[in-house]
Every structure is written in C-alpha cells, then in structure tokens.
C-alpha cells in the first residue's frame, strides 16, 4: 500500500501540516511507502530560510530535510503553486521535485490523504 499525503495548508497557521508530517514519518517507521505532496499555499513549507521561533514555534526545515533519511520516498511540490508563490528550484529545500497535480499523479498511489 503506497500512500500519498497532501499538504495544502500554509505553514505555522495551524498544526495540520505538522500532523501530516507525523503521519508520513509513522508510515515510514513501519516500512510503509509514503510520499509527501505540497499544494496551494502548502508549498510555502518548502521555502528556505524559515525562522519560526519568532512565532513561538519550531521551524520544520530540519524535519523536512530529514524526511529521506527516515524513509519518506519523495517530497513533491505543485508546479502551479510554486509559480504563484515565486518559488524557483533554488528557493526550495533540497530534494524537492516540482510536479503537476492531476489524475496521473494520484493514480500512482494506493492511498491518498490529507491530515485534516
């Protein structure tokens, strides 16, 4: 069962993105294949240079950088959303693949979900 978890909520405004990460890391910990896809305002999780201490939270850059090590198969980002938010490959965290949303993408996974 391969799983795609989609994050479309922007960073630090709610816990939904973090709870999606927890889901991904849990699947990976049990050797279940999992990929994370960032869509809409969610692509802003992937911008380099976040400093969330200023809003009383922890930045997620380090967690996302560790995703491949923990067994998350891929970090994907929606092409259209990256364009809209002015994110080029150099602005994005390392290891992110930019791709389009569509039936071809979701059909590659047995199980597609959101954290909330």
């Amino acid at each position: 069962m391969s799983t795609l978890i989609i994050i479309d909520q922007p960073p630090y405004g709610s816990w939904e993105g973090r709870e999606a990460l927890d889901m991904a890391f849990s699947l990976a910990a049990f050797d279940q294949p999992v990929t994370l896809m960032f869509c809409g305002a969610g692509v802003n999780w992937l911008r380099k240079g976040q400093n969330a201490g200023k809003v009383g939270q922890k930045s997620v850059e380090r967690n996302l950088a560790a995703a491949p090590i923990f067994g998350v198969e891929a970090l994907l980002a929606c092409t259209e959303a990256c364009n809209r938010y002015g994110l080029t490959q150099t602005d994005l965290l390392d290891g992110v693949t930019v791709t389009a949303v569509g039936p071809e993408l979701t059909s590659r996974y047995d199980h597609v979900t959101f954290a909330g």
């Binding site: 809409g40 949303v101 979701t106 979900t113």
Partner: protein, 92 residues
C-alpha cells in the same frame, strides 16, 4: 478497465481544496458531493466527471434537493456501496 477512483468532496466552491479536487479528477472517476460540497450543484464545473452524485440529506438541508435530477441524488446507503466498491477513495 483501470481502477476507478471515487472522490468525496465536502468543501464549498470557494475553498482551495474544491479546486484541487477538480484538477485531480480523471474522466473515468466518480465524484460524490457531500456537506457544503453540494453547493457546487447550482453551477456545476465543466471539469466534473460524468459520474457525479450529491448526498440527499445535505441537499435537503440546504434547500437544493429539487435542483438536480433524481438520478444524481444518493443516500448514505448508496454512499456506503460506492465507497466499498470503488478502486480507491479520496476524501478531499
């Protein structure tokens, strides 16, 4: 025939995920509008697939039960069957 995906959409047309769902639907997929997703029936998007349905209690709550053909209106019993038999289900 490839595995068919059933999409369950509970968000109103203004919501970003409503838009995202419609981008991800293939022409052979099924689509069920529930909760405030049913508000889409007043002006159905061109990207909706042929097989789309809306949940009766949510249509009734919002005064929309008469606005679409009876063959589009499903019950919770129907929804159980659709979700049990689809190749895959995505809840948006």
């Amino acid at each position: 025939m490839p595995d068919r995906t059933l999409h369950i959409l509970n968000k109103p047309p203004e919501h970003y995920r409503h838009h995202l769902c419609l981008e991800a639907i293939g022409p052979e997929d099924g689509l069920v509008f529930i909760e405030n997703g049913v508000l889409a029936v007043v002006q159905l998007p061109t990207s909706a697939p042929d097989r789309w349905y809306a949940l009766a209690p949510d249509l009734e709550a919002r005064g929309l039960i008469g606005q679409i053909g009876e063959d589009r209106v499903i019950s919770f019993d129907d929804m159980v069957e659709l979700t049990a038999t689809a190749g895959k289900v995505i809840s948006w």
